[in-house]
Symmetry: C2
Subunit: 302 residues, 2 copies
């Protein structure tokens, strides 16, 4: 199957809605909808203690992180169980089941290991987002049948075997390839969420300009939903929250519709909700005012 | 002179630099430069006490506001002396002279009264920004000769006798008219800073979309610098700072190069500095890191 090419252009003039589900709750990612924040905490990368605990079958920190992120306003949660010494498929299955038993938001099942994705998809209740597939033929041919089988949605990363291009047009062409290949497997474009890739601006002053232009192009040419790991943008810099927050405001204006981010950080959360107001995705600031009143009430009772 | 028309298109392919000066300091507003924050505080609108004090010749609050805004990081200061019971030309002259004697940033001389602008321009030391002229022929013919005489820069508001259009193309056409008419008076386009007009999103969910599209069009078609009153965007809503901050991040990405805003609000100030980092206007975050270190040092010594 390697080397198979699809050359027909794939464009969708209307904004697409990506529907994710938990057992009972539906979340919609879309260009006219409020931005979807996917809580980033349940991930052992950079959190060795969490990974060690999960490998030992101790999921207390996972439980606390799940509850706290949803309480803070995360619309979905990323769940990653990658740990060098761990049995990733078993850990991911356990994490998914525990989180689903505790909180009622759809999950983003996050692994680069095929067997882990397969096992987690088999037990997931609802329609998850799978994080992620890259554009290499081998990966697409491995992951996409799984996405189709479980009617999941998948994050497609705009990089390929040559790495991450700093040319927005090349990132767009990779996104087009992923969406086309998904279509070949019977996966509709609304079930593909492209990651335009955000690198840290600390290493390259043009990094975010490239990301923003990629988002704008994908929005205009493909119309699919997009998500990114927002924290990457400020990696290596001090006082990161306002940097990540300002990136998110700009990216939302350009067309980003969701992000894996720190939903518990008030600066980031406020920037996302405020940008929804400014872009008309929270008309008459209904959510903003409700959130303000809830905070006032909480402050008054403590 | 009324009804005079200039029909030749005026476009400037390269970003223009607007240079403002105090006695000894130069500030550049430009598309590749860090964003210019113009402190909004010295303005009796909505601050009756300040107006009453200024009318009585008491400028202590003006002095404090001038020092505090510059200390907080304002690159310029707006100075307005409009007060119903006051002698505006005399008050504006006094305010400009007192502020210039205390702080070393260029000023934005803010009045709708011709005599007040004339008197303040006569005493100003350096090259100020004049706030503002609208596109009515009568106003242009009154204000532009004054701008030319004092080699000042002027803010041109994108509204006309019919009011504020919600069509970005119409706002653009008004901006074009102001820039063309300025050219007729020998004022170069870099000395015209267009206000794309930002209304509150509380009254109309599309208000900011219109402003952002206006900014994008003016950036693309005219290339001139722009400024706006950022606080307008969140007027009437609770917890305004994150709303104004997210607007500024989006507007900077669209092409806004300066704003009259609350430079003393840390949320707004951080969003502006962070957006400069993200857009590559503070390469390698040199200003961001220096600011962080200065804050750490200040915290350590208190």
């Amino acid at each position: 199957m390697t080397g198979r090419k699809t050359t027909s252009p794939v464009t969708f003039p209307f904004p697409l809605q990506t529907i994710l589900e938990s057992k009972t709750k539906t979340v919609i990612i879309g260009h006219d909808a409020p931005f979807v924040m996917i809580g980033e905490k349940i991930n052992p990368s950079g959190r060795k203690k969490l990974g060690a605990e999960m490998a030992e079958g101790n999921f207390e920190r996972v439980k606390n992180d799940a509850r706290a992120q949803v309480a803070a306003g995360a619309h979905m949660l990323d769940v990653n169980a990658g740990y060098p010494m761990g049995d990733e498929p078993a850990m991911l299955v356990q994490a998914v089941q525990i989180v689903q038993s505790l909180v009622d938001v759809p999950l983003c099942i996050d692994s680069s290991v095929y067997e882990a994705l397969q096992a987690a998809l088999a037990v997931y209740q609802g329609k998850p987002l799978v994080n992620s597939v890259t554009s290499e033929d081998e990966r697409l041919e491995m992951i996409l049948p799984l996405i189709k089988k479980y009617n999941a949605a998948v994050i497609g990363m705009a990089n390929d075997e040559t790495g991450i291009s700093m040319d927005p047009e090349i990132r767009l062409s990779i996104a087009v390839k992923i969406v086309q290949r998904a279509a070949d497997y019977g996966i509709p474009p609304e079930n593909v969420v492209i990651d335009p890739l955000a690198l840290t601006v600390a290493a390259d002053p043009t990094a975010i300009q490239v990301t923003l232009e990629t988002i704008r192009l994908i929005r205009q040419e493909l119309g699919v939903n997009m998500m990114c790991g927002a924290g990457n943008t400020s990696f290596g810099l001090p006082n990161r929250a306002p940097l990540t927050a300002s990136y998110l405001s700009m990216a939302m204006y350009a067309g980003l519709t969701s992000a894996i981010t720190d939903a518990m950080n008030e600066t980031i959360r406020a920037a996302v909700m405020a940008s929804d107001v400014m872009l008309g995705h929270d008309a008459y600031a209904v959510n903003w005012i409700a959130d303000f009143r809830a905070k006032q009430k909480a402050a008054a009772t403590t």
